[in-house]
């Protein structure tokens, strides 16, 4: 079975990419558990705790990231450089626990996947 990677690169509420990527991820999880989820650039902001998107008329889909392990998705990778650039290396309480990896390792892990979707 192919390994599928979902890469999140955009912040949570300025566009719908994060939310629609999450929907696609959930749909794929129904057919396979060989899935990896990657967060890089503003995509790391998807996992920040305490978001209140309803205040800007956006829907709160963030909590769904927190329950992804229930859908048998267990591999999460967060780009360390992206966190550092945003002053978030020391942050905690993340919505989803992921492995924080340096960009070079992040790329190495990603190369182990057959198919890539970017949101």
């Amino acid at each position: 079975m192919k390994r599928i990677a979902f890469v999140f690169t955009q912040g949570p509420h300025g566009g719908s990419a994060g939310r629609e990527g999450l929907d696609a991820l959930l749909a794929a999880s129904a057919l396979t558990d060989r899935i990896g989820v990657f967060f890089i650039a503003d995509g790391v902001l998807l996992l920040l705790p305490g978001q209140q998107p309803e205040k800007i008329l956006a829907r709160n889909f963030i909590a769904t990231f927190g329950v992804l392990p229930i859908y048998d998705i267990h591999h999460y990778y967060i780009c360390a450089e992206s966190l550092a650039q945003r002053g978030l290396l020391e942050a905690d309480g993340w919505v989803l626990k992921g492995e924080i990896v340096r960009a070079a390792d992040w790329r190495q892990i990603l190369s182990g996947f057959d198919t890539l979707l970017t949101f």
Binding site: M1, S16, A24, L31, L117, T118
Partner: protein, 131 residues
């Protein structure tokens, strides 16, 4: 070697190059002897199925180009239904709601489909290309 492709289009018919690049790529891969199982339209890509899209007379009509392409080569044009409804691309309006009053604007040749078929295509194809 002939490969089975699946394409995903995430840009609108007008406004970005995503759709036109995807269309050209789709045509090129068939010329090269590969197979294209389906094209999946997601995010703003669903606008490719809006038949109200009215380009100027000296511009490519991407919406009708997709229809022609799908028909000529027997390629399914799948539009994500949840992304489409949110963006006002609708088909077979029912239930007396606002959609029924507005009527259908799904271009002939496209079909509304679920994310499940994207997932299926992802697993079955040899190459998945996102535009």
């Amino acid at each position: 070697m002939s490969l089975r492709y699946c394409l995903m289009v995430t840009g609108p018919a007008y406004g970005t190059q995503r759709a036109s690049s995807a269309l050209q790529f789709a045509e090129a891969l068939l010329v090269a002897g590969h197979r294209l199982d389906s094209v999946f339209f997601y995010q703003d890509g669903v606008y490719n199925a809006n038949r109200h899209t009215s380009p100027a007379s000296d511009e490519k009509d991407i919406v009708r180009e997709w229809q022609r392409f799908g028909q000529t080569h027997g390629v399914a044009l799948d539009v994500c239904v949840s992304a489409a409804l949110r963006r006002g691309v609708i088909d077979n309006p029912r239930d007396g709601g606002a959609a029924e009053r507005m009527g259908s604007n799904l271009q002939q040749g496209f079909r509304l489909s679920g994310l499940g078929s994207l997932a299926q295509a992802l697993l079955e194809c040899d190459r998945f290309i996102q535009f």
